[in-house]
């Protein structure tokens, strides 16, 4: 699965995207966040405040309890500030 990061989340985790092999029992976006946070302090820091992290599955907004299902790409980013 491709994971992408944007804006200050990208800066904090130190990469724009990566391919990950999903470990077993990771079923929802929230499960994935929990697993990512276990990978090191840069992830722990980036995801420490869940209230300001947004997610998308295959280009569609998702919430922490959205199931990953067959999604090819998951993205994490701060609240949007376009327009």
């Amino acid at each position: 699965m491709k994971v992408r990061y944007f804006a200050w989340l990208r800066e904090r985790v130190g990469r724009a995207e990566e391919e990950i092999a999903l470990p077993p029992h990771i079923e929802t976006v929230g499960d994935l966040v929990g697993w990512l946070k276990s990978r090191g302090p840069e992830f722990e820091g980036a995801f420490e405040n869940a209230a300001v992290v947004r997610a998308a599955l295959d280009h569609t907004h998702a919430s922490l309890d959205t199931r990953l299902g067959q999604a090819q790409e998951v993205a994490f980013f701060p609240p949007m500030t376009g327009g």
């Binding site: 609240p79 949007m80 500030t81 376009g82």
Partner: protein, 162 residues
């Protein structure tokens, strides 16, 4: 939020500056097109503090999300045409960032749809702004505003679609 709009839709996400007036001119009036509203969002200098904004975006998702927002607007109001253009990359003070044009038979639909699209675009389209100070130094990422969330949420209830 699924589905396609039944009217002409133009969505562009690009780095180059655009000319809002040329985009407005592109809209050819149908017999029943009585009202056209345009919104242009420009890069403010904040009293000389900023030189520019730098906009990061999520290619692919931006276009998909804008198409969903426009389709939703089309379900709420009888629209005849919609154009949305949004830039990314470096945008100098005074330059346009975003353009929304809505056309309808009557003014209320055109005004409401344009305001709706801007409010939802601000909180749902994957763009992130960072300040570039007057001396060229990259500054902070701009934080999302509670005001923008409030503006977007006024369209949540179906009865607000009038």
């Amino acid at each position: 939020m699924a589905g396609q709009a039944s009217f002409p839709v133009s969505i562009r996400v690009e780095e180059a500056p655009f000319d809002p007036t040329a985009e407005l001119a592109r809209l050819s009036g149908a017999d029943d097109m009585g009202a056209v509203v345009s919104f242009t969002g420009l890069c403010r200098g904040e009293g000389g503090r900023l030189a520019a904004l730098e906009l990061e975006h999520y290619p692919g998702m931006v276009e998909a999300e804008l198409a969903r927002l426009i389709a939703e607007a089309g379900r709420r109001w009888p629209l005849l045409a919609v154009t949305v253009i949004h830039r990314h990359g470096r945008i100098a003070v005074g330059e346009p960032i975003v353009l929304v044009i809505t056309a309808s038979a009557h003014r209320e639909a055109a005004f409401s749809a344009a305001a709706f699209l801007m409010d939802w675009l601000k909180t749902r389209a994957p763009f992130w702004k960072r300040e570039i100070a007057a001396d060229g130094t990259p500054g902070d990422w701009i934080e999302a505003k509670a005001d923008d969330d409030a503006a977007a949420s006024r369209w949540d209830a179906p009865e607000a679609a009038q």
